[in-house]
Structure formats: structure tokens, C-alpha cells
Symmetry: C2
Subunit: 188 residues, 2 copies
Amino acid sequence: MTPERTAVALLHHPVLNQQGRRVATAVTNLDVHDIARACRTFGLDAFYLATPIAAQQRLVERILGHWSTGWGASHNPDRSEALALVRLVPDLDAAKGDLATRHGSAPRVVVTSARPAERTVDAAQLRSDPDPEPGRPLLLVFGTGSGLADEVLEAADARLAPLEGPTPYNHLSVRSAVSIYLDRLFGR
Amino acid sequence: MTPERTAVALLHHPVLNQQGRRVATAVTNLDVHDIARACRTFGLDAFYLATPIAAQQRLVERILGHWSTGWGASHNPDRSEALALVRLVPDLDAAKGDLATRHGSAPRVVVTSARPAERTVDAAQLRSDPDPEPGRPLLLVFGTGSGLADEVLEAADARLAPLEGPTPYNHLSVRSAVSIYLDRLFGR
């Protein structure tokens, strides 16, 4: 597993809200920035921002435009470099398809959730395990809101174990969770 | 070193701007939330939010009020629980003083920076090293903007090694950096 063949996907649908209902969430500006910067730091291939909502797609295009050709590009080139990793897609399937095209084979899809489950893989295992199908890209999938809907969790090839500290509190922001998983997988 | 005797301080002054000038930065709402949630997850004692600017202090008080007694408190108790760790202070000295009062001895102050330096300690060392003065609380200090001013770095008892991925890019958000350091120190 190498960062050059790994991408993050951040889904805004289908995800759960606090009441456990399936919803589409709004894009948070700092998710785009923080996760792009983390992906750039750890050498990832791409950061797929997935939202099916046209108005939200236009918002993301505006943010990215500001940093790729607008004032931000000349003012803060480090930020532009990170945001150049962002690829706007409508959904997870589009992210999988794009990553497959870029690397010549369908990705292994690894989902994340703050909820415990049977048959999870922890980051240390994923980091050290030789890929059963070498050369296959890896897509790490994160959910906004209160996390990925069951259908996404169930359709994945593997599920990362939840992040845990010494307390039972498990409400990290998705920005924090992505950062910690990438560090565990590719840090140092 | 235990999380129960450890606190994070996030300084908004004296920090550097992109041009390397000493400035006071504005408080970012998501810094308050993300870092409080990470501190809560990893079992820390407190999160000191330090700003010398009266108008910014009032802003933070409004945010905290919303989540401690306002609508947010009943709507999202998990968030309230995290934000209860936040202690608003004017500067680092006030954070040190408060932590000393809470624990009965002056804290060991450990600073962070994305810039490499001689004589840094890495998180694994700090995690496993027995405290030279057992029982002393630990204060982990982070800078907003482009990082802590030299005077803060130089006055500290120790400096954590910069976070590094497999690339030379070193522009993580402070939210990501706090999350990763806390995971390295207290995770799993």
C-alpha cells in the first residue's frame, strides 16, 4: 500500500444525521481545506469530494476556482497545491470509476466509521499488510454528518477499526479522523 | 504522562503570519469545536483558548454559552461535553497559572512547530519517557496563523518534532496537527 495509489473520498450522501436518518449534508469549507492539506502532506493521489447536489457542486467549484486561478492561487501557493488534489464527483461510484481510470484497476474500497463493528481492520494492519492484489489503488471513504449510511459500509471491501482514545467519547470531527488515519497509515 | 494531567493551549498571540510577522489572529470557530472534541476523545484535562483581544474573548464566550446553557446544550450534549473542556484565557501565562492551580505544580511546557529544529522530542519519546518530575502537569502549546513566535518556542521546556508524512509539504491545519499529536501521545 503506497500513498501514491491511495485516495480519500468524503461523502455528503448517503450519510446519517444525528437522528440516524439518511440525508445529504452541506459541504463545509474547512473540510475541503483541511482534508486536502492532510492528503497533500501524506502524499495521496487524490481527494474526492462527493456531493450529488448541484448547488453544492457549484459552491465547491467556486472555492476551487478561487485557489486554482483566482486571488488565492497567487496569495497562497501552498494552499493551491493542496487543493489541486480535490476532484469533485457526484457520488462514490464516480470516485471509484475515476480512480480506476487513473490507475488501471478498480480500487479496494475501505470505509470508516466511529461505530464499532465485527471484522474491522486496524490501520497498523492495513499499513503493514501486503496488498492481496498488488497494484490495486486504495480508496478510503469517510462520511460527513453522523457517518456513512449502512449500504456504503456493507458494500466495502474492508472497514477500518474506529479511532479510540482512552475514553468512550467517539465524536471526533471528520477532519480530525481523516488526519489521524492518514498519519497512522502513512506518517513518519 | 497521563491525559488527565495534560492540557492543550491554542495561542492566537504571539504567532506569525504568512510573512513571518508577529500578529494576533482571529479565533476560528471550528478550531474551538474540533480541538475540544479531540481533547475530549483523548481524555485531556483542559483546552486553553488564548486570545488577548477583548472582542475575540466575547466571541468565544458567546460560542461557549450557546453550547453550555443555550440551544446547543440540549440539542447536542456530546458537543457540550467536549466544549466544557474549553478555558478562555488571555495568554500562555494565564494558561500555565490555571493549570498549576488545578494540579498543584507548574506545568512542563511542550511547544509545537511545523519548522524543523535541533533538540526536538518526538511524540513516541514523550509518550514512553517517564516524567523527570512525576506529577507535574503537561501543557502542549499550538500556534494559529503560521505558528508560534520564536519567544514562545524558546521559552518552552521541550519542543515536539514536526509532523511529517512522506512528502516535504508541511502545511497541516492546526486542527489536524492537534488531532495527530494527541493520537500519537494518547491514542489506542
